[in-house]
């Protein structure tokens, strides 16, 4: 555990990507199984121990430290695991520290009751850095600036194998990945994935921004506002994966017996809702409800029959990676598209359709079409180079996303909360509101949304100072401000919502501009925001 803790600390304080790769690779080479496998899992996708949650740690500490002092400390540090590691009352003569493997075994053996006895024993065996590493590992999500991709790249570097090959096997294997190390480090045969329905990493797009592309080389497709999914069938089993590779099969059971042959398909998951069947015009396809309707179905472990009937899901296909066991990823997009079009006859149209290609004379015409698109299920356009192979991750010049321009509204800052991670100690999470009538005639502000992004580090410092100097009330970690600052807020769409007092919920709100100059009574009213609802 000491080596792992030292690695975590070194990673926390390292900025250079190459140095991070070197540190992880060195650790993976020098550490025996299964410790290195658990470490790799912790650094990439994270481990999950159901008995150890953030609340468990909080409760453990509140038994040992005054609860008020705990809360003040946690609020200052901005990270439960780190606060706990610093405040833990260490025994004078700690017993010998565990290995990573031993710690994982002990964590796995804990249940919601025994955790209150066994986790303290484990913490007593570690110093502050060890406690930090252990608690981070136990609660998943290290948040130390190492992405899953970086961890895999480090693994590939450590043993001189290709990261694409690592990605290929990754999702079919489980921590501590003995087969992966046997293959890469010991030169044994690679793991056999042929009959496993495993996730293949998505090909992603860059924002188009100022780029102009030639439509002789690129095709345009709608970017649908659902969730990107991968439907995989292998060895007589079908699985549905989200963009991050999470298995969401249980949430959409209607998609699990409609793919009759082995394949890996890439598409957008949408639900048929109020717009079902209608609204199809010559540009868009219609048939899909807004994201808000889809949202009702996300994150559920079981689905009622009613829900299946009211909001059935379907996949609008973008691409095919494998068909009947044949790997198509190296082929150009045009060739894969032909195969996908031919495939549609073999798929039930109740659960699949094909994302249409958007025809345009030239780039300006395409821009016009994009401006004119008002279908709620459209997020913007995708531009794909005709000769692009299907490559995991975000590759320059192959695919671009060109989102619809956001909607804008002027809101007033009402509350601020401290951020966590890199922004701990800064008031970086803002709740803002709009007027419920004429502000000059005594109207009040009602909260309409929350934003954490859209400003620079410099602006964050100024906002933090504004919050501190204009606080009128404190509620734990939240400060109420004197409502003297206007934000121009950008968002993708707005919907009715019972969850908020204003009856509205914004999708993806972010700070577009800080209007230090604008008087608050000139901020927008709730009615203005309501007029932007499209579903």
């Amino acid at each position: 555990m000491e080596e792992f803790a030292a690695l975590i600390d070194a990673l926390v304080y390292t900025r250079s990507r190459n140095e991070k790769l070197r540190l992880i690779a060195e650790y993976l080479r020098a550490t025996p199984d299964p410790d290195r496998g658990w470490a790799l899992a912790a650094l990439s996708d994270g481990l999950d121990f159901p008995a150890v949650k953030s609340s468990t740690i909080r409760n453990l500490l509140k038994d040992r430290v005054d609860p008020v002092l705990w809360t003040l400390s946690r609020d200052f540090v901005g990270d439960t695991a780190e606060t706990a590691s610093l405040l833990w009352p260490a025994p004078e003569h700690p017993p010998s520290p565990p290995t990573v493997g031993e710690a994982v075994e002990l964590l796995e053996g804990m249940n919601r009751k025994s955790v209150f006895v066994d986790l303290p024993k484990l913490l007593d065996r570690l110093d502050a850095s060890g406690r930090y590493a252990l608690l981070k590992l136990a609660t998943g999500g290290m948040r130390i600036g190492v992405s899953s991709r970086l961890a895999k790249t480090a693994f590939a570097q450590a043993f001189d194998v290709s990261v694409e090959e690592v990605e290929e096997y990754w999702h079919g294997l489980a921590p501590p990945f003995p087969e992966l190390f046997a293959w890469a480090a010991e030169g044994q045969a690679p793991p056999d994935m042929a009959n496993l329905p495993t996730f293949r990493p998505f090909m992603l797009a860059h924002p188009l921004e100022e780029t102009v592309v030639d439509l002789a080389d690129y095709v345009a497709e709608w970017k649908w506002d659902g969730i990107r999914v991968q439907l995989v069938r292998a060895g007589d089993e079908t699985k549905l994966f989200s963009r991050s590779g999470d298995d969401i099969s249980a949430t959409f059971p209607e998609l699990l017996d409609v793919l009759p042959f082995p394949a890996v398909l890439d598409g957008e998951l949408l639900v048929r809702g109020s717009h079902q069947g209608g609204e199809a015009n010559d540009v868009t396809q219609g048939g899909a409800a807004s994201f808000n309707a889809l949202q009702q179905r996300l994150g559920r472990k079981t689905v009622s029959k009613k829900m299946l009937a009211e909001a059935p899901a379907f996949v609008r296909l973008y691409d095919a990676l494998l068909i009947d066991g044949e790997d198509l990823r190296a082929l150009p997009w045009t060739e894969r598209r032909k195969r996908l079009e031919a495939l549609m006859a073999r798929l039930p149209d109740t659960h699949f359709d094909l994302s249409r290609v958007v025809e345009a004379r030239d780039f300006d015409h395409l821009a016009e079409i994009r401006e004119g698109s008002r279908d709620d299920a459209i997020e913007g356009l995708m531009l794909k180079r005709k000769d692009s192979p299907y490559i995991a991750g975000r590759r320059v010049r192959y695919w671009y996303k060109w989102k619809r321009d956001p909607l804008l509204v002027d809101c007033v800052l009402m509350y601020a909360q401290r951020g966590s991670g890199k922004r701990s100690s800064f008031y970086s999470d803002y709740t803002f509101g709009c007027w419920d009538g004429d502000p000059d005639k005594g109207a009040e502000l009602l909260p309409v949304g929350k934003a954490y992004s859209g400003f620079t580090d410099e602006e964050l410092k100024k906002l933090d100072r504004h919050v501190r100097q204009n606080t009128v009330n404190r509620f734990g970690p939240v400060r109420e401000t004197d409502k003297s600052l206007v934000f121009e807020v950008a968002f993708d769409s707005v919907h009715e919502s019972k969850r908020h007092k204003s009856g509205l919920a914004m999708r993806f709100p972010r700070i577009h501009r800080i209007r230090w100059d604008k008087p608050v009574h000139e901020a927008d009213r709730i009615e203005a925001l309501k007029a932007l609802i499209r579903d």
Partner: protein, 343 residues
């Protein structure tokens, strides 16, 4: 007979000693200021008269020309030196005595006595030994006015020798690079240099130009800092394998491009918290503070054992809570202008 302690009034811009019409560490210009130490949030220019230790006055002369003659040969901002252990009688029958606070060169706690009542203003203080200034003394009093910069139980400053060893280990591991230490220009920088010398590091240490004058002032007051060189006088190759000291603000500045692949270190009590170090892009956090940590703050209150504790600035909520839990009378003063310096 006036109410107890009615002669002292905490105001947002300083502590008012009413009968003497004097202010302790005022954040705006006043006729008579009693200054605990030279840091900018406690010592400001423009007072009619400043009462402080000779070292603090030397620092203030350097920064604000306190006690210096103007072109007409007048001294517009007068300096009244008081040595450690020495008392001065102020108007209104107030007695002020200066005791070491152990914070930086010249730093003092000020004991104020009037009508048989004793009040101690600590300014900022620490309890650890520091080769650049005399150690804090416990001064019994009725009201103890303390800081709380590191007033959270998570703050325990490790022994400075451990932090020096971390620095020297890293330096030895990278003989072709340099270790750039961000340290507050007054106090922290000189303490780090003096502690490096105490740890046996006698190579030349390179300074950012902004640190030079203060280091010379320390040397004039008898603090041996060994051989110091200015970064601007040397090439990248000269500085390989060396320690470079700069103000924290210069760490991520263009200025540091002239250094040989610097490893960015920062000497500060805030480095105890990982995310604080990351926010400043620090690769080598050195937990070194010139303030009392949580254990020292609470131990000091116990040792001084005042009737009442007043808390000026920092994490006052938590220290107030500790006082409550230990049945000690305490209040937080809403002071403005005291900042969490880069300590």
């Amino acid at each position: 007979m006036p109410a107890p302690f009615s002669w002292i009034r905490p105001e947002p811009w300083g502590i008012h000693v009413v009968p003497a019409d004097a202010w302790v560490d005022p954040s705006r210009p006043v006729e008579r200021a009693l200054v605990t130490h030279g840091h900018a949030d406690h010592a400001r220019g423009g007072h009619g008269q400043t009462v402080a230790t000779p070292e603090t006055l030397a620092i203030m002369e350097l920064r604000y020309r306190t006690g210096a003659q103007d072109e007409a040969g007048e001294i517009p901002h007068k300096a009244v030196p008081v040595e450690y252990g020495e008392s001065i009688t102020l108007p209104g029958d107030v007695q002020a005595t200066y005791f070491p606070a152990g914070h930086v060169l010249g730093s003092a706690q000020i004991l104020l006595e009037h009508a048989g009542e004793r009040i101690v203003c600590t300014g900022d203080y620490k309890r650890r030994a520091d080769p650049t200034c005399p150690q804090f003394e416990v001064v019994p009093c009725d009201i103890f006015i303390t800081e709380a910069t590191f007033g959270l139980p998570l703050f325990t400053h490790p022994p400075i020798a451990e932090e020096m060893a971390k620095l020297l280990d890293r330096l030895a591991a990278h003989p072709d690079r340099c270790v750039l230490v961000g340290a507050y220009a007054l106090g922290k920088a000189q303490r780090v240099i003096a502690e490096l010398r105490a740890a046996g590091h006698h190579d030349p240490i390179y300074l950012h130009g902004a640190m030079e004058k203060m280091c010379r002032l320390y040397e004039e007051h008898g603090v041996d800092l060994g051989e110091l060189r200015l970064v601007s006088d040397h090439t990248k190759d000269d500085m390989r394998g060396s320690v470079v000291v700069s103000p924290p603000g210069a760490l991520n500045d263009r200025w540091s491009r002239r250094l040989p692949e610097p490893i960015t270190a920062m000497a500060s009590g805030w480095m105890r918290v990982r995310q604080r170090a990351r926010q400043r892009n620090v690769e080598l956090p050195l937990i070194i503070s010139d303030h009392a940590d949580w254990g020292e703050l609470t131990r000091t209150i116990e040792e001084v054992d005042p009737v009442e504790t007043w808390i000026t600035h920092g994490r006052e909520d938590a220290l107030l809570r500790w006082c409550q839990l230990h049945q000690r009378r305490a209040r937080a003063l809403a002071m403005v202008g005291y900042e969490d310096e880069d300590d």
